[in-house]
Every structure is written in C-alpha cells, then in structure tokens.
Amino acid sequence: MENIYRPSLMTILNVTWETPDTTTFKLAYQDNAEKDAFFSNYKVGQFGEYSAFGSGESTFCVASPPTRQDHIECTFRAVGKNTKALQAMNENDTIGFRGPYGNYFPIEDWKGKNLLFIAGGIALPPLRAVIWNILDRRSDYGDATIIYGARTVSDLVYKMELDEWHQMPDVNLVTTVDPGGETPDWKGEIGFVPTVLEQAAPAHENTIAIVCGPPIMIRFTFPVLSKLGFRDEQVFTTLENRMKCGLGKCGRCNVGGTYVCKDGPVFRADVLHKLPAEY
C-alpha cells in the first residue's frame, strides 16, 4: 500500500522575496513520474503540504497555474516554525511537497463570463493561479478586474506581476493600501478593500467575483458585493482552517460536517453561508 504521507522531493529553483516576511518559491519535482501525476490532477484553487524536513508541514495553496507545467510555485508568510524554516532555505535546497489536495475554482463553468478578483494581503496567491490560468486562455473569458489591497505598500506581493497586469490592456487592476500605509510615490488608491470595491462599482451582470483575504476583509466585502447586485451564487471564496493531513483524516479542518481539506478550500458564498460560523 502507498504511504499517503510520503511527500515528493522538490528542488527550490528560485526564491523571490515579496515582502520582508513573504517569499515565493519556484519548485521543481525531482521525480518526473510524480510531476506528471501532479499535473494530471492539478486544478487552480487546490493546495498542498510543504515541508522543511525537521520542522513539519504547512498548508499553502499552489500559486502557479496548471498551464505552466515545468514547475509549481507557492508564496508564504513566515508565521511559525515550519514557515520560518522554509524561509531560511536557499536555491537548490530540497523540500517536501504533498498535493494537490482539495477542490478547485470551477473555471470551466466561468467561460464567457467577466471575472472580478478581490484580494487582501497575503491572500493573492490562490487568486494569482486563477488569474494566470485565465490570462493564459484569455479568449475563453470576458473582462478581468483585479482589486488588490494590503496594509502598506511593502506588504503588496507579486509587485513585478502587478506591473505586468497593469500594462495589460485587457486587465483592469486597482491596487490600494490602508490609510497610512502609502509611500510618497504611491500611485494606487488609499482605502480599505471593501470601500475601494464600492467606489469601483464593477457591474454584476454575467460576472463572477472571487474574494480571498483575511476573515475581516471577507466579512465586509460580502455585503458590498450584494449591494452591487451580486447574488451569492456569483461569489466564491476560500477558507483557511488549520490543517495537518489535507486528506480528510486528521480531523481538524472541519466546519460543522464539512471538511475544508476535501469539500474546500473553495466555497461558493451561498454554500458558505449555510455552514456554521466555525472558521
């Protein structure tokens, strides 16, 4: 029998410092069969367990799209034991990875629709995978609007890509920082994400909104969306309950009877609202 806890070994190809405490790893499978197995299953929105051997495992989403098959990426903030150990690693080092786990964004159902991405802080990575996925298949989708905010300018991740998206004529990018978080040369908006969303007032017709961010941001963004005319069925988000196995066995990620590692992390708002407030 196969050991479901055995990770694949991955080589760190590249380390990018997004902010003083947030890093992006570009990772390559050391074993080609494992790589093929991953890409035959992987869909945007899924997550994995990443480990610095000796420090345990951490759950991060896969931040790169399945349309780029030579590597995977993850972006993570150093908050605890394993994330700090990972951040201390360098190019060419080996880490462990298990995945892909969980459900995914139903982007096939979204073909022909406009997409509105709303992200706060470190929660851009799961959306980034979707954004690149649809940008790589641009003609399948309608308008793309991205509203991204962070506490301060230095907390914005993927600065290079933000520039790239900004240049793209068919992407509407709005960046914002919390009041007081701006620098003298900041050209974006100043204000909290829900407020900026309300001002931008994107149309709800034929549009899917995908919201990722800290619980507080999500809580204040949902009402704004419904004010703008979005029905719950048009709104998607992700949950980040604490996980260990990622496989529906260790018993810690459930929200009521729903296991976030199996039935999530992606939830449509109407489904989410039926769950007990245990996240």
Partner: protein, 356 residues
C-alpha cells in the same frame, strides 16, 4: 459450533503464540489497566469491565513514525519508511468487549475515505480480534443506546459467548467465527477447542436489562438545528478541556503530524491529538475557530452523533463508557446526550400541547 472452556484459554494463547501471533489482552498493572502483549494466561484480567485504555493503540498508535528523512548530499534528502513487519506484526487482540472490538471498524471508514491510511489498515489486516460477549456492565456502559449490544459481533473476527449469565465463574464459551479471517485463525491454530455444542444464548439477561437511555436518532435531529443553542454553554461548564475522554475513546482518531530531528535527519511522527485541545484548531494568526471549551465539546459530541453518522452512516461511539468513567470532572458525554434527548422530548411535548 465449537466451544472453549475457561480452563483452556491458556491453550488458545499457546497455539496463537506458536502460530506466530503476538497475544494482546487486558491486564492490570498496579492501579491501571490496559491491553498489553502477554506470555501467560494468568496475566490476563478478564474481570475488567474495560481497561482504562482501549485497544485502539494497536491500530492507531499514540505516536508512530510515518517517514524518516536523511540528508544525503549538500542539498539532497533521502526518504525511508518503517516496514510493515515492524509496525504491523501478526497480532491477536483477545478479550475485547464488543464495544472495543467495534472501534477499529468504525475508524476504518475515515481511514479509507477516498484514500487509504496504510499504517492503520495494515495493522487492522494483520490483527485477529477475539471478543468475549459481556455478562456484566457498569453504570457508565451504554452500548444499547448506540446501535450496539453486550453480544454485538460488529468488528470482531471471533466472538466468544459465555455459557453462564454470571461474571467470574467457569464458562464454556461458544466460539463463533464472525469473519473469514476469524475462520482462518481457528483453522490455523486449532487444538484448543473443547468440542462442539449447541447451547442457548447465554446473556439475554444483560441484554434485556440494559435499556437504551437516549434515542441517538432524536439527538441527531436536534443537532441538525442546534449549533448555536445556549445548551452548549451551560452544559459544558464542568469540562476542563483535557484529552482524557478522546485518548481513552476507542473511536476518536484525530492526529497531529510533527517532525522530530534536525535538518540532517529525523522522523516524521503521527501523534494522537484531539478536538478538546485548545491548540487543535488555532491558526498561526492567533485566530481560533473554536476558542471556548463549549465550542470544543460541541464538536466532540456533534462529530460523534451527527457529522460521522451523516458521512458514514455510523455513530462514532460504541458506548464503552470510558469518557464518563475517567473524566476527571464526571462531565459525561452520556449525561449530555440524555439531557439533549430530554430537551427534545419536553420541547416536542410542549409543541404538541400548543397544537391541541
């Protein structure tokens, strides 16, 4: 059907051991009781209602290595795994009560949910569970309230049914092979049987005297709509949020995964963990979806009597009574289940009265 006398149990142990099985049975050690490998039949304590620790640890160890890693070059890592021979030796678990025998089969549902946990399954496969039906229960026991009975065969490979309705006396046990594995074991180790008979069911007495004390289905329905009920806060005040109930429980199966070692080499372990622990769900950000012990106890009760049954159609409890017997504050799960049941019946009576 074949039988075995109390006096011949030693022969059963001998033949199992010479067939290569580790023989695990309930024993007393000082003031504690547990399942442990034994060499001699005299070591076994068959008079215990249940040992403090359930035999769960023989399928799902309180700590076990699931992976080893070693640095094999400047930036290279080599992985290895414990071998099945080491973690899943052929084992007989003898003298289980039906409530303990049922545990592993119930946990099996989650351990095979979409993918298989080999550490659990390999052990289950290499273990023969020999159960003795009960002729004695205590106030904490409640198997009959959770779809079980003092003579349930659920989860057993072989069930021994005593001939006399009394504890502590010489018995002529009726031996029933419940599973294929059980038959094979009897075939493989025979020589211990004392002949064949056709005795009457012996423990009808206990079965009929152990009336269910709550209706699990009614509790489940109440749970459907009572996540926010104020019941939880007042009913859970006495709980101290420790791990006693979950760790002694034959059906609790939650775990943690941690590394022990340094960057050059070490082990990845899977350790018991429990929803009653405050850290269980704590996010790295400091946010905790279940910050209070009332939230945590609600999870424990609801997991057992609603979430698990909803998913796998089985109650995650065998009524063994440990969580009551060993709770430091007598904060019994059974007590809460009965309270809920009573709440439902008074509510429905009140509703009926209004209807009339």
């Amino acid at each position: 059907m074949i039988t075995i006398n109390t006096n011949s149990l030693g022969k059963l142990l001998e033949s199992a051991r010479s067939a290569g099985y580790r023989f695990v049975a309930p024993v007393r050690d000082g003031t504690i009781s547990l399942f442990r490998p034994v060499d001699r039949i005299q070591e076994i304590a068959l008079d215990l209602i249940t040992p403090v620790k359930s035999p769960k640890e023989y399928f799902f160890s309180d700590h076990e290595c699931i992976l080893s890693y070693k640095r094999s070059g400047k930036s290279l890592i080599e992985l290895s795994e414990p071998s099945k021979e080491d973690y899943a030796p052929p084992t007989v678990i003898f003298g289980c009560r039906p409530c303990d025998a049922a545990g592993p089969g119930i946990i099996r549902e989650v351990m095979t949910w979409d993918c298989d946990d080999k550490f659990f399954l390999d052990r289950l496969e290499s273990t023969v569970i020999i159960t003795i039906a009960c002729v004695e229960a205590d106030e904490a026991c409640y198997c009959t309230s959770v779809d079980m009975a003092p003579d349930s065969e659920t989860g057993s490979d072989i069930l021994l049914t005593p001939s006399k309705d009394k504890p502590g006396v010489q018995q002529e046990y009726l031996v029933k092979a419940v599973t294929e594995k059980g038959s094979r074991f009897i075939e493989q180790t025979k020589g211990w049987s004392d002949g064949t008979v056709n005795p009457a069911p012996a423990i009808e007495g206990l079965k009929s005297s152990m009336k269910p004390t709550f209706d699990a289905e009614r509790v489940r329905k109440w749970l459907d709509t009572s996540f926010e009920d104020k019941f939880w806060d007042t009913a859970t005040l006495a709980c101290i949020s420790c791990g006693t109930c979950t760790y002694t429980c034959p059906t609790c199966h939650c775990y943690d995964i941690i590394d022990e070692g340094n960057t050059d080499g070490g082990k990845r372990l899977r350790n018991w963990d429990a929803c009653m622990m405050e850290l269980f769900t704590l996010h790295a950000s400091g946010h905790n979806p279940r910050p209070t012990k009332s939230n945590r106890f609600r999870q424990r009760l609801t997991h057992k009597f609603k979430y698990y049954p909803d998913l796998f159609n089985r109650i995650l409890c065998t009524g063994c009574g440990r969580c009551q017997r060993y709770c430091p504050t007598d904060h019994a799960l059974k007590n809460l289940l009965e309270q809920i049941d009573k709440l439902v019946s008074t509510e429905s009576q009140a509703a009926e009265a209004v209807d009339k």
